[in-house]
Amino acid sequence: MRKQLTAAAVALLLAAGLGGPAFAAAEEAVPSQHWSFFGAFGTYDRAALQRGYQVYKEVCAACHSMKYLAFRNLEDIGLNEAEVKALAAEFQIADGPNDKGEMFERPGRPSDHFKPPFPNDQAARAAFGGALPPDLSLMAKARPGGPDYTAALLTGFKDAPAGFKVPEGLYYNEYFPGHKIAMPPPLSDGQVTFADGTKASVQQMSRDVSTFLMWAAEPKLEDRHRLGLKVVIFLLVLCGLFFFAKRKIWAEVH
């Protein structure tokens, strides 16, 4: 029986290994990078998050919404209350109706969500010849590879290989499924000026904005890692206690 069980376990593990990644075939393999938020003790790099937010705000936000995030969430990436208030007030947010029944615009508040670049999806499509720039709130969880993929995509713009036809208005990207992407290469060296003096290379910006996107998609990751550690340690102690309790109680039976 033991032999059977071992064989079954091996078969199960093999199945788990083969069952998952079979989808990525045909596309260029996304290179895996090391991220500070990996692992049981992983946390977000606050400086990278703030730089990433700057890249989002100054580059991505021209086309991409991020509707599940509110300005108040930015306190998590290290901005203080006053900074968040000032930042939110930079935006004019539609509100209303007021007592006269009219819609009006007012400066943003920390509780407002990020202002989308277009009032609705149709307006965005109209502006981009039918292509809709996807909302980025969950991008890091909505693509296989997550942050590795977003970082690779942003640096993956190349000239199409000989014989590969890229239609007018589309661009060749090594890592995009099908290689034909409607987004023009968004980043260029020195495009933003980081307050902390970090050199804004395409590589650096793609990494920082990918960190920011991961945080945006999974803002409770640090809480999760911290609580998980406590829970697992607690349970391991309980495991030990119950193991010895079980041994003692069963001693007389065996």
Binding site: A7, L18, G19, Y68, A217, R224, L227, G228, E252, V253
Partner: protein, 415 residues
């Protein structure tokens, strides 16, 4: 032994509503074979996971909005704004996987030790019903976040019913509550997803009633001959189940806290879009083998019938297995085929995760055929031709060795 207590209040209640006597009878004294292995932990484990699912699910329902325009956003609201909402949702989503994992081990344990054989056939039937209701519940739960895989999974599965001749299309319209999957579909799935777990609780109670009628099977598969073969459930199996529960919770916590999306599809973090079909529509891992069987037949109706047969065939198992010996431990030939059957199920799982093309198509068909051959041909024949090894005299004999002292904690055999 009647329930003993000094508390007047407890006596007063127990005289009118014998819950204390019942608990004494079926949780404490309940005579249990003394030789159960850790594979017997998975039944109680499944019960506990069901409770976890119900408790987390009820709290999630307090924050979830079953409307196609708000469902996806309400799940994000749970993940971002509700206190410990992320914990509840990850627990619930991974809890579904854990539930199936535990139940599948429980079922395969039953396969190996012949737990479906007389007098436990009805216990087995109730188990199959539990599996069916679990699948329906899990499927409808997966639709609720209203992501891409939710929507397209619901499309594929509900469309299966259109294969029914003549009335198929009408049934699908009736299931949807309209002419396409929409808000009425989401609303009824939410309603049923909330209802079915309580149906499960009822079925589990019947499952336990049937279990307690003749007691647990055991690794030797032989009946208990007397009180020396049994020990009371408490403290022996309470402590063993609790130890197993802690080990399970460690594994579950590592999955839930550190790899919460490992078993999920990234596509389900994209809001449902009826105009964009995902490249590969796949169900959650625990339904993949059945999905592989469904797709192994080129004909839609044939595939649907075969998929449902793959579960309903389990109802015939007590008669398809012709061997008089329960435990696989004494069945040299059955052992080999049991191993091949496990591998076959794993192959089906892998095939289900991949598009039905090329090698996967062929392998899927062979594995599907073998699944049915195992039940319909191999099991009856093995039972006829196999020469089982001699069975031990009693449970105590191999446990204590011949002539050893009688059990120190004899439990009264159930009348």
């Amino acid at each position: 032994m009647a329930f003993q207590t000094n508390s007047k209040l407890v006596k007063w209640i127990d005289y009118r509503l014998p819950i204390f006597t019942m608990a004494q009878h079926s949780l404490i004294e309940y005579p249990t074979p003394k030789n159960l292995s850790y594979l017997w932990n998975f039944g109680s484990l499944a019960g506990i996971v069901l409770v976890i699912q119900i408790v987390t699910g009820i709290v999630l329902a307090m924050h979830y909005t079953p409307h196609i325009d708000f469902a996806f956003a309400s799940v994000e609201h749970i993940m971002r704004d509700v206190n410990y909402g992320w914990l509840l949702r990850y627990m619930h989503a991974n809890g579904a996987s854990a539930f199936f994992f535990v139940v599948y081990i429980h079922i395969f344990r039953g396969f190996y030790y012949g737990s479906y054989k007389s007098p436990r056939e009805v216990l087995w039937f109730l188990g199959i019903l539990i599996l069916l209701v679990m699948m329906a519940t899990a499927f409808m739960g997966y639709v609720l976040p209203w992501g891409q895989m939710s929507y397209w999974g619901a499309t594929v599965i509900t469309n299966l019913f259109s294969a029914i001749p003549v009335v198929g299309e009408h049934i699908v319209t009736w299931l949807w509550g309209g002419y396409s999957i929409g808000n009425p579909t989401l609303n009824r799935f939410f309603s049923l997803h909330y209802l079915l777990p309580f149906v499960l609780v009822g079925l589990v109670m019947l499952h336990l009633m049937a279990l307690h009628q003749h007691g647990s099977n055991n690794p030797l598969g032989i009946d208990r001959k007397g009180p020396q073969d049994s020990i009371p459930f408490h403290p022996y199996y309470t402590v063993k189940d609790l130890f197993g529960l802690m080990v399970f919770l460690v594994v579950f916590s590592i999955l839930m806290f550190y790899f919460p999306n490992a078993l999920g599809e990234p596509d389900n973090y994209i809001p449902a879009n009826p105009l964009v079909t995902p490249a590969h529509i796949v169900p959650e891992w625990y339904l993949l083998p059945f999905y592989a069987i469904l797709r192994s037949v080129p004909d839609k109706l044939g595939g649907v019938l075969l998929m449902f047969s793959s579960i309903f065939i389990l109802f015939l198992l007590p008669w398809l297995d012709t061997s008089p010996v329960r435990s696989g431990r004494f069945r040299p030939l059955f052992k080999q085929f049991f191993l091949i059957f496990i591998i076959d199920c794993c192959v089906l799982l892998v095939v289900g995760a991949n598009p039905p093309e090329g090698m996967f198509k062929i392998v899927g068909r062979i594995a599907t055929a073998y699944y049915f051959i195992h039940f319909l041909i191999i099991l009856p024949l093995v039972g006829w031709f196999e020469r089982p090894r001699p069975l031990p005299q009693s449970i105590s004999e191999p446990v204590l060795g011949a002539g050893a002292a009688p059990s120190p904690a004899p439990a009264r055999e159930k009348a």
